[in-house]
Symmetry: C2
Subunit: 255 residues, 2 copies
Amino acid sequence: MLTVNIIGSGNVAHHLIQEILTHPSVILQKVYARNPANLTVEGLEQSIICNDIQELKTADITIISVTDQAIEDVSSMLPFSGQLVVHTSGTTHLDALNNKNRRGVFYPLQTFSKHKKVDFKKIPICLETENKTDLHTLQELGKILSDEVHFINSAQRKALHVAAVFVNNFTNHLNSIAEDICEQNQIPSKILQPLLQETTDKLQTLSPLEAQTGPAVRHDQQTIAAHSAFIKDNLTREIYQKLTQSIQKHHGRKL
Amino acid sequence: MLTVNIIGSGNVAHHLIQEILTHPSVILQKVYARNPANLTVEGLEQSIICNDIQELKTADITIISVTDQAIEDVSSMLPFSGQLVVHTSGTTHLDALNNKNRRGVFYPLQTFSKHKKVDFKKIPICLETENKTDLHTLQELGKILSDEVHFINSAQRKALHVAAVFVNNFTNHLNSIAEDICEQNQIPSKILQPLLQETTDKLQTLSPLEAQTGPAVRHDQQTIAAHSAFIKDNLTREIYQKLTQSIQKHHGRKL
């Protein structure tokens, strides 16, 4: 049996609370949010919500899931010391937490939107602590919530967050650009969905180097020139050209 | 009942032949390939393969599935005229086909690798012809093979191909960059798989504008600066910065 406090009401806090409520072996002791009205998790009892951080009691794990900039302040305001306190940020060093408590990180590597359910079992949980005993405690929580628990130190987590920006944020934006191109040419953008799905599916069995197709890797300069001429927006054209160049550089180097 | 010739032995030809062989209502009359040894489709009878283009007889549809550069030559070498002849290219104009035959396009919007099975029913088939009767014939074939048949003219198809490069080629390459970052930091790159899957899943219910998360859209300059400093390769850093700038421009414009 583990007791847990959660601080925050953003997307990560929302999904963490939602998931923890489904596991009887984890007791959600208290949830603190500056603005409790943001806490809209179904089944979350009002009696465990507070909006005065001083009301928090010690728990096995206190999880701070707030914006990166607020982690330092919030951790220094905690009304206890010597306890295990972790943040959930991909970019923030463990040191950002106030050192009056035992520090750690519990970083779920996923993109969360409040109204989109996720299968928590499949989310890689990246753990880091200052001492081994705390790592066991965090691991216990991690394994209850997910099938994928990893030990990732602060330097690795920073690298991982950059990688995640490429995989999620930038991939999403490429789809935004593609959708714009379709709309500008009276093509239903839904038409691209199966291609995106197959792009992802392929990467489950092939490496991205093996899966690479298209004019860039074929060095089809005629098509590349035609595409560049077609794209009217300067920034989008620069992105097209840089990515093309990068594909050619990667494949020149690796194959 | 439709009779079909196929010319080519590349990835698209391979999957088209494989699929057509499963539909009794389409008769695969002849397959021509310059190098028949490349034709490795299971169940394809040797008797219908030829490597002399002069052996081709007329069929309801002759599908030319060769490299973009070869379409013009191959179509001019056909030993018949006045027949429906189509190519399968995303980038090539219908006009590239020799005008001794009735011209059309049968473009399956998907990324094909020989050894990766695809569900043809879900592949959008983009059709174009010079006259309406031929469009009906192509549509008949399209509907047998897929649930998604679209009429897309040459100008639209060109736009669609650019969009497809962003959705597939570039997304795949972003994953290549992310994998490199993981490897350089002793992180198993498999850890990114669930994030990529969720990125794709989200786009089935949310628009890319709604689904956008991360430091760029949050205008989190501190994280953006830290990421830029972290990325040692100049070209990769430029890609990071251009995509960040593009996300911010898109969201400034649209939200």
